[in-house]
Amino acid sequence: MKDNYLTHSKGFLSWALTLDHKRIGLMYLVATLGSFFVAGMLALVVRTELWAPDPTIISADRYNQAFTLHGAIMVFLFIIPAVPGALGNFVLPIMLGAKDVAFPRLNLLSFYLWMLGGAIAVLSILSGGVDTGWTFYTPYSTEPERLGVVMMATGVFILGFSSIFTGLNFVVTIHKLRPPGMTWFRLPLFLWATYATALIQVMATPVIGITLLLLILERTMMIGIFNPKLGGDPVLFQHFFWFYSHPAVYIMILPPLGIISELIAAFCRRELFGYKFIAFSSVAIAAFGFLVWGHHMFTSGQSTLMSMMFSALTFSVSIPTAVKIFNWLATMYKGSISFETPMLYALTFLFTFSIGGLTGIFLGALSTDIHLHDTYFVVAHFHYVMMGGGVIGLLGGLHYWWPKMTGKMYDEGPAKLACALVFIGFNTTFFVQFVMGSQGMPRRYYNYDPSFQIYHQVSTVGSYILAAAFFLMLFYLLKSLATGRQAPDNPWGASTLEWQCSSPPPHDNFSTTPTVGDPYDFSGMTYDPQIGGWRPKGAPAAQGAA
């Protein structure tokens, strides 16, 4: 086999000290999926506890800690870093035609900061646990008995720096490392999305950094800035927290939106409809994202005028989002779509993410939000966005780039089955939560009125189906590593640059700087059954050149 980035050097240190963006991306992938596993297990504990109103398997305190840890790990250790850290790191430089990111050492530092921050955050469970919910609202989090808050906040503070450095790296890479011919409007849309994400990472994360630092100082030194007992203002914490955490929703969702653009172009095998509109809509979503944080505080004593402005701005986010959805639909319209696993995830995404986006309108409207605030309707809404959008998009990207990253093909049969199970399990788990939320079931409650039990039980069953789907996925992906068919350079007939280098890519990505044309020009390719993939027309029927 040809020399590739996996075989280029050997030994533990060649991985631990690597500056290769592909290896760092792979390490991020393993680490973030590990976090997903842990947080997913906690979700199962929470769902199982809610099977019946009374204590089922754990105490109320443990329950509070479980959903807090579930939320914090999912958000800070999995969804935020997963797509930029794992897929972004692996794909971005190759897609761009560069040898690496602009600052490879900073990239490795980001990864180790992730490890350190993650370890501290998870170990907070040893120092008493955190039961504040992932939002750490004051004055709840400033109460002396909440011992784990300091460790958790320290961990998330460090994770923030990891995210900032990744974003900074990507912005500079896209600005300065584009090869000749790679103009801004030849950037594949995943890169536009990653670019917009990186801007948010750089511009929003410092604010959560200072907020958490103040929270830590509040807890350790009692500086009295957020603690009302000392004259501080707890609502100010909410403002600071959401000034980051709303844009952070777009850190979680923009890269998957970019993945979906790639998937739809590749599996419809045609130029994306409205390329520039999709590109600019990513930047528009990033920009709008900074102006809507107050929609989390409609019931926190914010002035009515402010709430009205935040509500109107929140609605305006739906415009660039709809621009994307309609352009994708227009691309698929009358296209010859091939339904391979990544495309199935793209279609799932369109369904679930649309529900997530549309239910956001109920919550962005002032009058209905008063009723729905802090109910399961909110829980369902953000799971439809973060899981139905973020995670489904990530899974699409993972299946799409898996052959490139590992050099192995997974079996389509079990992969399609897993995708179907994810679809069924996901909707079963969360759709009923809209119903019980609108009927008044509050979020984060350990106990509930027996009339809600049937909804909780349906939801819990759904979560078990989801778990089964993920175990199936784990199984066939690991199996592909052992016995999978050698992946061709371009198994999907996709047109962006990463499919021009071999699978897995060589250490330096490109031996010669690649020539860059239209990112979505599919005309020059033909399917070659001998290699089970696509190759340029007229090229010899063998593995393409690196």
Binding site: P104, L106, H175, V202, L230
Partner: protein
């Protein structure tokens, strides 16, 4: 960030040893590093922006607290530190110029001077902090203003006789009897608060007029202003975080000084000096905002 050694051994292009293998040209590398530094500085500004925002909110909500508390900061020491940082920023900029012109001896001298400025700043800050600790002018629950036994109880520095906005005249009667007014140039500043209480300066000391109602010492009156500790909370967080940046800056300056001594910049490559100077200017800039916002209220 600025220090990308060529780790792609064997790429055989024979280019500048300071160029990392994934850049095509040295110019591309320099541009990328500068852009990275500017973005990093933007994140630093945003980090402090949160604090400036908290400052604005609390000053808007409690103007009397900020007026009152800021009087206990030593404006002279603050101004001295402003001058020190401005000078060190100047020597840092000059150091970049020297590096550009390959004047290595001059570069080293200027970096040492910049470092000296940083040390000077921290020494002054130490003096200020110790005074605050001695008198219990601290944050949150630790706010406990008192006479430390050696010195008279601290008084609002730099503004004897100033009547606090919104204060009732009795409790905020101007200068207390032990206020030394010899240093006050403009005696007309020393005014009785309102018409009921009058003071007069005798031999540079304030003496209450006969028949004037008894005045409380400042500590007593300070207690009338609630939540003064919030100001000190913000003061210590802002100046503390800034001080931490000064420390990091010292590390960075020391690092380029070492590299200069090793001869790394003899060949005309001076990007690290440039980047560190940029960082140092930011540290300076933040202080330029902190000084008036914390010390010069009123």
């Amino acid at each position: 960030m600025g220090d990308q050694h060529a780790h792609g051994a064997g790429d055989g292009h024979g280019h500048d040893p300071n160029q990392a293998h994934h850049f095509d040209t040295m110019d591309q590398q320099i541009e990328a590093c500068k852009m990275g530094m500017w973005l990093f500085l933007a994140t630093e500004v945003l980090l402090f922006a949160g604090l400036f925002c908290a400052y604005t909110v609390y000053r808007g909500n409690h103007p009397e607290v900020f007026h009152h508390a800021s009087l206990f900061l030593d404006t002279k020491l603050g101004a001295l530190n402003t001058v020190i940082l401005l000078l060190s920023s100047f020597t840092a900029a000059w150091a970049v110029r020297a590096a550009q012109l390959r004047q290595i001896a001059k570069l080293k001298l200027l970096l040492v001077l910049t470092l000296a400025g940083a040390v000077g700043f921290l020494v002054v800050k130490y003096v200020e902090y110790s005074a605050k600790f001695e008198h219990g002018l601290l944050w949150g629950l630790r706010y406990d203003p008192h006479d430390d036994g050696h010195h008279p109880a601290p008084k609002p520095a730099g503004a004897p006789g100033l009547v606090l906005a919104g204060a009732t005249t009795q409790e905020y009667a101007v200068a207390t009897p032990w206020d030394d007014l010899t240093a006050v140039q403009d005696k007309s500043l020393v005014k009785p608060a309102g018409n009921e209480v009058a003071v007069q300066a005798v031999d540079g000391r304030v003496v209450p007029e006969e028949g004037a109602p008894p005045r409380k010492p400042w500590v007593g009156s300070a207690e009338q202003v609630r939540n003064v500790h919030i100001f000190f909370g913000i003061y210590f967080v802002m100046t503390g975080l800034h001080g931490l940046h000064v420390l990091i800056g010292m590390g960075a300056i020391g690092w380029v000084l070492l590299r200069a001594a090793k001869g790394d910049f003899d060949g005309g490559y001076y990007l690290p000096v440039d980047l560190v100077a940029l960082y140092w200017h930011l540290v300076d800039l933040i202080w330029i905002y902190l000084f008036p916002l914390l010390y010069l209220i009123g």
